[in-house]
Symmetry: D2
């Protein structure tokens, strides 16, 4: 970095959740970023390092109740908010010429109808939807470079799509019979009191939830449909792991024609040749959550089963990093034309 490199002024809205904490850890170390504002749903200003003592020594800054003035000084704004809340902030920020990276689901669908159907709420900014670019960096890098509003992907879609895209876009697998069995750590559910997320209810326990109806399903269908060039309906089954961080997705695919592991390997290699955060494993190696915890990597392994004919792809991400805060910063880097790995 030369001394006249531009420093971007960044604001973070929603600083006190698990994603907010990870954004803070990344942004305070980012060489091109100056944090100018932290806000969250707090009663009165609090020092963010009191709320998260693990930040002591890294940052000394107040987190304040949200107010428009707080964002005025920012060039770019990260919104780490629940869905239906982000869309109250976005229109004004975009109008004010700020770059916006929204980590909620509010701008992931080009179509307010899909939003209404799956999120059960009327979209407040349907006119703003076409502006948004889906921020799966490895897939939409070019559009992200010129975007002003990023819809940062859901954690599950990130892990699933990255494992499917290379073979789907090459026509190697059938779009019609994709099964995604995904398992997430508990931070994926957010930082709010809830009986089913109490320690003794999760510890020594494991369960599937929201089969058939999980809100990330249409997001996968939309993006995979774009990639395949035809309608996709995945079977998506989420599960809750007794651990803090990570999503492991086991993906069952039907090859369009018989396919060997060497072919699959070459396809993944060539597709992700330039992607520093994709880590490919040669069969029979398979990724584990501890390989990616604390990183922005997506690790991908696979096996072709000669008995069944299936191709099984396994991906691992840290749900709070590649699945949220890390990918958001990767997107900022891509928007600004910095190297995607800047600050990691």
């Amino acid at each position: 970095m030369t001394t006249d490199d531009k420093i971007l002024r960044v604001a973070l809205v929603g600083a006190t959740g698990y994603t907010g904490l990870e954004l803070l850890k990344l942004l305070v170390r980012h060489p091109r970023v100056e944090l100018v504002s932290l806000t969250a749903k707090v009663d009165k200003p609090v020092c963010i390092q009191r709320e998260f003592p693990v930040l002591e020594g890294l940052i000394d800054m107040e987190c304040r109740p949200p107010e428009p003035a707080a964002l005025a000084a920012a060039d770019a704004v990260f919104l780490a908010l629940p869905h239906t809340v982000s869309m109250k902030f976005v229109p004004e920020l975009v109008k004010a010429g700020k770059k916006v990276i929204d980590l909620s689901a509010d701008y992931r669908f080009p179509d307010a109808g899909a939003y209404r159907e799956w999120y059960g709420a009327e979209h407040l900014d349907p006119a703003g939807l076409p502006e948004a670019v889906y921020g799966l960096t490895e897939i939409y890098r070019d559009k992200i470079a010129s975007a002003r509003l990023i819809a940062n992907p859901g954690c599950y879609p990130t892990g699933a799509i990255l494992g499917i895209a290379p073979v789907l876009e090459a026509g190697l697998v059938e779009p019609a019979s994709i099964v995604i069995d995904a398992k997430t750590g508990v931070t994926g559910a957010g930082r709010k009191a809830s009986l089913p997320l109490l320690f003794p209810e999760v510890n020594e326990n494991f369960r599937a939830y929201n089969l058939v109806v999980h809100k990330h399903t249409p997001e996968m269908n939309l993006i995979l449909g774009e990639i395949a060039g035809k309608r996709v309906e995945v079977e998506f089954a989420p599960h809750l792991l007794p651990l803090n961080r990570g999503i492991l997705s086991t993906i069952y695919l039907k090859p369009a024609r018989p396919i060997g592991e060497e072919d699959v390997w070459e396809r993944f290699q060539s597709r992700y040749r330039e992607d520093r955060f994709i880590r490919l494993l040669r069969p029979p190696a398979l990724p584990e959550l501890k390989d990616v915890a604390g990183t922005n990597n997506c690790a991908i392994g696979f096996r072709a089963n000669p008995r069944t004919g299936n191709l099984i792809v396994v991906t691992a991400i840290d749900n709070l990093l590649k699945g949220a805060a890390g990918q958001a910063v990767q997107n900022l880097n891509a928007m600004e034309g910095w190297g995607e790995g800047t600050g990691f």
Copy 2:
């Protein structure tokens, strides 16, 4: 059991907490007990095996909102309620001639002043306090046999007092310098939504809490003072473990005169000769939580340190069993003159 053995009709108030669940598991298997009523703070009657599916096949019974009539048919009543709530139920039940085992703190102090000081509430039944017997079975077995109202001990006091009583009552250790460093599983905090007890806040974490001010301190001081025959002020430091069940207490004692491990061993052996739920370990063996999980046992080990002169006693209990539901059933057995191990 002969066919004309008496079957006791038992009611459980507060069936939907962690302690309630353990009481249910014990009572449905108890050969002398018939469960006649379950109540809890529920909006409408629920099948208890729907609330706790682990009970499927063991019980098929409704749990109802509390109402006096539900208790009329019972000979004995277990109250698994928060403190300040139990004392609203007890007076009427005692007056109706029912045997009552109260698992809250409401009847543990003979004196309403201590209750007010530590629990911050005025006692509603001060006249009923002298009736209550402190239900630490190994210490007060004789009084329990003729009691009508049992104040079941706190989980921490149970683990601590059982490790100290034998050497304290024999004058082997100084009453003035007792340190109790105790570590509990999360079920000890009850089954209610709370941010600090959310899985990601407890998992991979460990902390001390309520140093100096924990409500179980005066209970230990009271009982240990009775045992020592003089005033006792323990240093009690509770900690929260990232696991579901168990309390391990590490207790630091100053011998009144130099003492060897063999002497301590003989003292514990002779004191607990007839106590089926006390498990003594010979030095250098020490108890672990997994040795007692799922049992009503209190495992006790110790070391004498020749360098410092200290005696260190380590005790392990399952906080939900010997620390709550198990000891409550042991007390019922003692009250009824059945063998203390009946139903375990």
Copy 3:
């Protein structure tokens, strides 16, 4: 039980593993069983309650190095041994007229060729294979009643087959496209030192393993093939959970024709009407591991997905109980004509 009820003398070979411990807990409480011998790979006799202090107060018995004489007094023998070891014990025991319940894989295949292919060892007792009955009680109850040698099922096949059998045998689903995504607790890997099973390698981690090549695959194919009346090749993907006990299997099935949840419910209900250890959940309820931990139950839930057409079945078992020791005792009960729930 009347006083002249027969008491069966039982020996346990392999008492010091995780399955051995669970068998001990069940057998000491079983009203029709007298434990007459415990053996294990130990250097010299050890009190079993010293090896497993959680048994203190329940049993006081020596566990000895294996020797033929130790088994002479037994009417029935449980073998909780690794595969390739059991088959060294079985022939002589069967010849001596003892009932044998083998918890290893050694007698699960009627054909020594399949054993050689998947377990990489020559079978030492091919002539004994036809004698063995596969001990999935809910499926082979009638044959078990007259069996002398039980091949107790693998933990994964138990959870998978029980979720598939009712709809497969009724022709409701395609045999050709079964996907079983299963997740097990760590006790499933046995009690032996191993770097990948060290606490810090498993805790906060999750991974798939042995995709395509897991030894339980042919066992599922064999039994499901018998049930379907045609060749079955399942896709079986096992995963390792950071918890002690339980297997959750998420099973993806293609209906042979469009099917509603009500039809599936009726099919499961009628198939398992008399099975006390099967617990069916009405959609949208799904089983969790904590619902079955410590029980011999298999909990089963399911969803039909109108978008994809798939039927998804989720089953939960305790891998050490219904998946091993519990089912073994259930089989003993079935062999002896006692109620299957005796001793649970």
Copy 4:
């Protein structure tokens, strides 16, 4: 950093343990360090990022079996080796003029007799002992600045001494009655297969171990004795937590005269005024392991108990960072005259 800043060539011996991994993570990010050699007890050279996939993208380097030539190019060497192994490497490295930071216990005692007594082995380099400086940076910063050989402190002594030193050196507490009840995560036991450290033996379990005889006791006594200016014999009781990382120490101290929390606060504040890695909490706040996980911080809180007169200090560190690798890098920084926080 200006472009002509010196880059230090660093070697790491023992790269494949838990401490080695943390050293790697720190050293690859350190702006003044170039890693020139990795060795470990491996059969043949392995890419370190294959052994620890979490390093993928951060490093691409071979780890080789140890051989003297590998260290020749290094200016400084970190030894992350078991005790009794380090002292085979140290003399030659020191003679060759390299700066050495030894993370084992081999050079922590000035006296080979104490080493023999507690570690049960004859010291191979008694003449080298006086050269070593005990690397508790906050206490021995000045001596470290000119040291050539650092004995990096044990994990437990680090957490304990930092909580005691300020009040002990000021004469505020009695040196004669210090009790240290410490609880560690499992990585503290190293990365080697061992039955008691198997996941199911540690998970849902908690235990004290090595009471009275733990090898870190004399290290605490030595350093605290130097600080107090008189003989110290602490009571040190270590415990094993079911989590990966962190040590929480609860320390019980007898004030020399009555003391208030404000006095203690001022004492800690003034003692650690310039220490960036010490984080003081005002009563009643107390540190938690999650506050320090992943950091080089030592968080310190305390309470004065008016009832007992005791002062209770609680400290929290990440055992792999401030308790090992982090403090080692902090020491390198201090030796080189860089800011202590360089590279964190």
